[in-house]
Amino acid sequence: MKPRSLITLFAALAVAGAAAAAPAAPATPATPATPATPATMAAAPAGTYEKTLSNGMRVIVKEDRRAPTVVHMVWYRVGAMDEVDGTSGVAHVLEHMMFKGTRNHKSGQFNELVAAAGGRDNAFTSLDYTAYYQQVPANRLDQMMALEADRMVNLIVDPKEFSKEIKVVMEERRMRTDDKPQALVHEALMATAFQAHPYRRPIIGWMSDLENMTAADARDWYRNWYAPNNAYVIVIGDVDKDEVFRLAEKNYGKIPRRALPPRKPLGEPEQAGIKRLTVKAPAKLPYLAMAWKVPELRNASKDRDPFALEVLAGVLDGHDAARFSKTLVRGSKIAVSAGAGYDGTVRGEALFFLDGTPAEGRTVAELEQALRAEIERVAKEGVSPEELARVKTQIIAGQVYKRDSMFAQAMEVGGIEAAGLNWQDLDTVIEKLRSVTAEEVQEVARKYFKDDALTVAVLDPQPLPEKTEKKTAATGLRH
């Protein structure tokens, strides 16, 4: 019954729909896999080990012997934020091309070998990183590493394969964004909130850039960024750490280190004044999304505000009894749904989002006032000890529940590493979240939610054209 927010913070794009990844979970076969977003609410898995190979590639292992399976991931420290104007989307396009053949394997063979091993595989691209994974029986880890090592150095970006795959990506853009009004709002929101920082470009890329992309663009991207010293491997499952280190050395250790392009600092000029935008699209319900520029997590030991912001998001929308559900959906009934979200574990710049859909007869302007009033209420009155305790209870219980999924644990390690922190910080993050005080939550609500740092995006729903269904006796299927 809880009205879920529509915010998906920095959601990553995957190469395949869920039908590929989860034949056992048939509820929504057409929905593309959306891997868990890297959460800051995380705990260092007990029994985690790390080794750095001589070429600079790091190997992170967690032994989890519950079932004879393993998840193997390779994360590259390159994502959409490293792109430049004119080739937006190339990080994600290259991710697709990574399945299209190497000097040793023909196009599609990667997937066939994983399938034959009994495995599932996919990959995903975010603003910050690009990651590849396989879930396989534990005794197939060596083979998976050999396959990943092969495509780390031997990829062939064939122009013919590229010309087909770029069409797939354009279909993906139509499906995810062009025909989804709220996705268009989020795209426009990011493009407006940031004027210089690369977070202004969508991960999927602008359609015009996709239409003009070449195989050479993808090849250049690969040559620039795909190197062992720009990657780390995560292995969680029914494995012995020393054996994993040995296999990693054998498969990845021989790949030479390469010089990476310089990464220039990517500053966003300080915003000086509210930004507002409207997206018109065929839809029934209006929609509102607001984003404030807030600090990101840079130092898990020293930072305080990112943790207070995370707890604030929890107080507003972290659980069934949180304020938005209680006050806006159930109480005043001004919203059909309302959400809050903050992810400070990012390489780039962090935003604090509020979003929602007004109830029938209410306007987005009223909803905006109501959402702002909730922030102001925290700023003025603070939060109760009970509210604080509830958020922390969710965090701690969530840590236990997360252990039921090796995949979720691997995502958590990968995500914090991608943001430039370490998996060892996961414990610190939990400690720090638990130490957040009511005063700190009140203080961040006072400090960061100024209009000068705010962007407001509104969906202005347009009527749909009239439709009449046509029925024909179908012909054409041979039997």
Partner: protein, 430 residues
């Protein structure tokens, strides 16, 4: 409470146990509820799912949406608790509630820490929700408005329009084809929910699945607590038999840039004798992701779609077989032709021996991946329990897959997917 939770976390590191098999224990409570239990002590977690034969198939013809609303309003008020107290209590235990109503089942899931105070509080809350929901009129009014808003929005989206139209077309006059509308939800009153609950949330229509960190004796007590206040009721009345649709092609105009295409018909039920040939065959046709024929033909060779799949969803009665894809509207006819040709070739010739071998390798070698978490085990156990499948279903699964022949696949597909019954729905076509 914080301290107790932490102790629970420390225990995690100690336990370690590779689990390749799932042993399901089964019994019936005195009130007649069936219980299915898997003990696994590695994590301090208990997962519970209570399923009732109270899905949307039991909606009155003029009130689709009633089963879904009844299920979703269980936590709108119960016993002497209002919805704020309910959500507060839930959150204080750290437990999580889930579940919804599908065509056959209304489900409620609980995930809780296994430590006694948290578990006791969470189970007591769920017991109250299941046995004493009050369905307050004011909450119903609000939730109807929210549901109607959601329906209005969904009715602008091509995926949702197409999916509803497809189900209505392949199940003409059958409850599997109903869907909630603005009008049908508008007609639902509080009395409808009260009656639906008292008629269908009964012990003999319930199956209780429990997975996790507790003993058999504790599981027995838990199952009794969740069900002993329910009316015993009778056996679930049978859902009407499905009548296969006539072949037709429906075109629904829409402004979207992509066409959404659906092809299919009612095809398979739970416990179906053709289950394994259809499962293995579908992996080859369109269920096996990248390596399936549909993905190769539609996506890999031609770049026509990001997502293309085929899928069987078995229900108590024949559940849908569905092929789906989204493609740029200008090429919709061409893409549909590729789908039709691929399906026809598969129906005519069946899989090659090489395809069969590869499908079996994936399904058999990868079997452990289907049961490598408590959540996955719970999903299987609840399905086995609700539909009354053999308790050794999971053990038999790889063996049954291994036995499937290409002749069986061809035979099963040609009987179940007859072109004269295939329905095609195209939203936003060219």
């Amino acid at each position: 409470m914080m301290k107790r939770l932490l102790i629970g976390m420390i225990c995690l590191a100690a336990a370690s146990l590779a689990q390749a098999q799932v042993k399901i224990e089964h019994w019936t409570t005195p009130a007649g509820a069936r219980v299915y239990f898997v003990e696994t002590r590695v994590l301090p977690i208990i997962d519970v799912q209570v399923d009732f034969a109270a899905g949307s198939a039991y909606d009155p013809a003029d009130k689709p949406g009633l089963a879904a609303l009844t299920r979703s309003l269980l936590d709108a008020g119960a016993g002497d608790l209002d919805e704020e107290k309910i959500s507060g209590r839930l959150v204080d235990t750290g437990a999580r509630l889930g579940g919804s109503a599908d065509d056959d089942r209304a489900s409620l899931t609980l995930r809780t820490l296994s430590s006694k105070p948290e578990r006791e509080a969470a189970v007591e809350l769920v017991r109250t929700l299941l046995q004493q929901p009050t369905f307050p009129a004011a909450v119903l009014d609000r939730e109807k408005k929210r549901l109607i808003a959601g329906i209005k929005e969904a009715d602008t989206r091509p995926a949702s329009i197409g999916s509803k139209r497809f189900m209505a077309a392949i199940y003409p006059g059958h409850p599997y084809g109903y869907h909630a509308t603005v009008e049908s939800v508008g007609r639902i009153e509080r009395d409808d929910l009260v009656r639906f609950h008292s008629a269908y949330y009964t012990a003999r229509r319930a199956s209780v699945s429990i997975v996790g960190d507790l003993s058999r004796a504790e599981a027995e007590a838990l199952a009794i607590r969740l069900t002993d206040g329910l009316p015993e009721g009778g056996e679930a009345e049978p859902i009407p038999e499905v009548v296969l649709p006539q072949r037709e092609k429906l075109r629904i105009p829409h402004h979207a840039t992509q066409s959404h295409i659906f092809v299919g018909l009612p095809a398979m039920r739970r416990g179906d004798p053709d289950f394994f040939p259809l499962l293995v065959g579908n992996y080859i046709l369109g269920g096996g992701g990248f390596v399936s024929r549909l993905t190769k033909e539609v996506r890999e060779k031609r770049g026509f779609a990001y997502s293309v799949y085929s899928h069987f969803q078995p229900y108590r009665r024949l559940g849908p077989f569905e092929i789906g894809l989204q493609t740029k509207r200008e090429q919709a006819e061409e893409a549909l032709k590729v789908v039709d040709t691929t399906l026809a070739a598969f129906l005519e010739k069946g899989p090659t021996e090489d395809e069969l071998k590869r499908a079996k390798e994936n399904l058999i070698n990868g079997f452990a991946l289907r049961i490598d978490s408590n959540k996955k085990i719970l999903d299987h156990v609840a399905m086995i329990g609700f539909y009354g499948l053999p308790l050794d279903y999971l053990d038999r699964y790889p063996k049954e897959v291994a036995k499937v022949t290409s002749a069986q696949i061809r035979d099963a597909f040609s009987r179940r997917i007859r072109p004269e019954n295939l329905v095609t729905v195209i939203v936003a076509g060219s």
